[in-house]
């Protein structure tokens, strides 16, 4: 490393402090989940940091530790002093939502297993980071998209003509991509005295740790601790999270944004507390500022909420109760706009919008609506979801070779679709619909790709489907909790030999 321990602590501690202040200002506290709070703080801090750097780039301020560091320090103080948005006690939820079976407290063994799983997955992330960081960032997406963009921004000092020149000289693949990952990389440059090729990965690796903490808390909230431990272990060993830890890329970021948004929705649905709605909007803002797939997940979640509101009157009441809290809803759209403006000023365009090719997504789509294209896409989905091991040494030797757990997504979908009416009318409706809409939306993108479909699927399908796996794991936990609850209730009924008594919980 070219960085001392003190600088390292500030580099990773400052976003955490800033984020903790922001999360508290939103009204969420560590009482809502100690594990998740650390993850939420990292998310909010990373997003705020990226926005500060974005402002510095728009104003073409000097990218020096003193300048950005002062702004971050001021933001930390402001976030901790800012009057809590929820000073007034929030009205307790009075509307009964669809019955939610609370997860059992679990046995002592189950709770111990969950604690061991949390420690283990964090250790696994740490070890994967050690293995990855033995090599420098020099190849692939982490260099040609994310670190390369940070390098170009650092060289140009703003969204200007020099940025376009630097992007061309560095041969960047997608300079138009959202900036959160690149801005996080740029943040590390301030501590290493210039462009670096190792420390840039640290922020991405902390994002994976944040994802695992939030996932652990979300799973534990919805299923018994032993089952949560199993699902967390399997999630941590997915190919996607292994890659996200080993490379400085946007996949872990966007997966985290989607998962945190779904978890926030469920908490909002369960409690009616508006702070969760605010956190949902911040999570989606994090996702759209990370990667373009974030826009898709924003639409998928909005679609999921619309479907739930259609079938469940209590959801409509919940949304009506939001009143003034709706004001934060445009935050993700605002960030999409900021990104669009930065691209327009720098002369970058997305290849799906006709940036590098003559044909955009919407031009390609009508001509590609053929069964053979859909067969290819569904075949790729199926292979990705059912492949349990990667080919031995696929030429990318700098990360551990894990088993692939996209199977978690397949299980979640099958179990949710086994009881479609219950899924539509139950508490898992939004998550199930968001996951299904995401998969469908991804398929539409593959149909309209300006690239060769086979080529595009080969290079991306496992990665982008992997972004949905944490959300699908949450769905699996919800479904398993319901089924386990039913199983216990029915066994109890059978034991008492009374068929007219308690019905299984849930709608």
């Amino acid at each position: 490393m070219t960085i001392g321990i003190f600088a390292l602590l500030i580099m990773l501690g400052a976003p955490l402090m800033l984020g903790a202040g922001i999360v508290r200002a939103i009204g969420v506290s560590s009482r809502d989940g100690r594990l998740a709070f650390i993850g939420w703080a990292w998310m909010a801090g990373s997003l705020a940091l990226a926005l500060l750097i974005d402002i510095a780039l728009w104003l073409e301020l000097p990218l020096r530790a003193t300048v950005i560091g002062s702004a971050v320090a001021a933001a930390i103080v402001a976030s901790w002093w800012f009057p809590r948005l929820t000073r007034r006690r929030e009205r307790q939820a009075t509307i009964a939502t669809a019955a939610i079976a609370p997860p059992p407290d679990g046995s002592r063994f189950g709770r111990a297993a969950f604690a061991v799983a949390v420690v283990f997955v964090l250790f696994l992330t740490f070890d994967r980071s050690l293995i990855a960081n033995a090599s420098v960032v020099f190849f692939g997406d982490e260099m040609w998209i994310w670190n390369g963009k940070a390098q170009a921004l650092f060289t140009a000092g703003g969204f200007n003509a020099a940025l376009a020149r630097a992007a061309a000289e560095l041969r960047l693949s997608h300079p138009d991509y959202p900036p959160l990952v690149s801005h996080s990389a740029l943040w590390t440059y301030l501590f290493t005295g210039g462009v670096n090729f190792v420390e840039v990965r640290l922020t991405a690796q902390c994002t994976v740790a944040a994802l695992l903490l939030i996932a652990g808390a979300a799973l534990r909230r919805r299923v018994a601790p032993g089952v949560a431990a199993v699902l967390l272990f399997l999630l941590a060993t997915t190919h996607t999270l292994s890659l996200a830890t080993s490379r400085c890329s946007g996949d872990g970021y966007v997966a985290l944004g989607f998962l945190a948004a779904l978890d926030a929705w469920l908490r909002f649905e369960e409690t009616g507390a508006r702070r969760w709605w605010r956190w949902l909007c911040v999570s989606l803002a994090f996702a759209v500022f990370s990667k373009n797939e974030g826009d898709l997940y924003l639409l998928a979640l909005a679609g999921g909420i619309a479907v739930a509101a259609l079938f469940q009157p209590p959801i409509r009441v919940r949304l009506k109760e939001l009143r003034g809290a709706w004001v934060v809803a445009p935050l993700p759209l605002l960030l999409i706009g900021v990104q669009w403006l930065a691209n327009a000023r720098s002369g970058f365009a997305n290849d799906f919008a006709g940036g590098k090719h003559d044909d955009s997504l919407w031009k390609m789509l009508p001509g590609r609506l053929q069964s053979s294209v859909f067969t290819k896409i569904l075949g790729a989905y199926w292979t990705t979801m059912t492949t349990t091991t990667l080919p031995p040494n696929d030429g990318r030797p700098w990360f551990t070779q894990p088993s692939d757990q996209n199977l978690l997504m397949l299980l979640a979908l099958v179990l949710a679709l086994l009881a479609p009416r219950r899924t539509l009318r139950g508490p898992r409706c939004v998550v199930a619909a968001a996951v299904i809409f995401s998969l469908a939306g991804m398929a539409v993108i593959y149909v309209g790709t300006p690239h060769d479909v086979d080529w595009h699927l080969f290079f991306s399908v496992d990665r982008v489907l992997g972004q949905i796996v944490p959300a699908a794991t949450l769905l699996l936990a919800q479904t398993l909790n319901e089924r386990l609850h039913d199983h216990r209730a029915l066994r109890l009924q059978a034991f008492h030999g009374d068929d007219s008594g308690t019905q299984p919980s849930g709608p």
């Binding site: 033995a134 090599s135 420098v136 670190n147 560095l170 670096n196 699902l231 088993s403 757990q405 029915l490």
Partner: protein
């Protein structure tokens, strides 16, 4: 339907689900165990990885580029920051990857086609005020305009040339 009868489908779904999860846990655990017992790609154990936590950048770069690090060293030694390196179109995938890596690692040095560095006599100086260099991945490879260059480095893997100042 009696409660006992209603229990069965749900029970089988749960059994099948947990069997699949158990199968994947075993698979993942075995995979991780193999990784930890045989060491990482550099053959390091966990303790060795911890010991290497403060390994300097140069050592990490050498792990990553392997033999390519000699090209990297030669570029940094001879090519100034405003230099432009012309590439003869020889070399395989490994050389392509190396050049892509050098583009970032040695920025703002630029990599371009040979014609940009050694234009025909009719054209003026190559790329403004940039110093011209030529990198070949076959040490004895001949290229057009070679007489206008002087060799700086030669190894079995590559050679680096400088366009003579009077030729620019």
């Amino acid at each position: 339907m009696t409660p006992r009868a209603r229990t069965w489908p749900n029970r089988w779904v749960l059994i099948a689900t947990f069997a699949l999860l158990a199968w994947r846990i075993a698979g993942s655990a075995a995979e991780l165990g193999r990784t930890w017992t045989r060491g990482d790609v550099f053959g390091r154990s966990f303790q060795e990885r911890i010991a290497a936590i403060d390994e300097p950048f140069d050592a990490r770069l050498r792990h990553s580029l392997r033999l390519g690090s000699r090209v990297y060293d030669a570029i940094l030694e001879h090519v100034p920051a405003n230099g432009i390196v012309g590439l003869t179109q020889r070399g395989g995938e490994a050389e392509f990857k190396l050049v892509r890596a050098l583009v970032s690692l040695t920025y703002p040095r630029r990599y371009a086609s040979l014609e940009e560095v050694l234009p025909g006599k009719a054209r003026s100086a190559p790329a403004g005020d940039r110093h011209g260099f030529v990198l070949t991945f076959a040490p004895n490879e001949e290229f057009p305009g070679q007489e206008r260059c002087e060799r700086l480095t030669i190894t079995p893997r590559f050679s680096l040339w400088r366009v003579k100042p009077e030729a620019q």
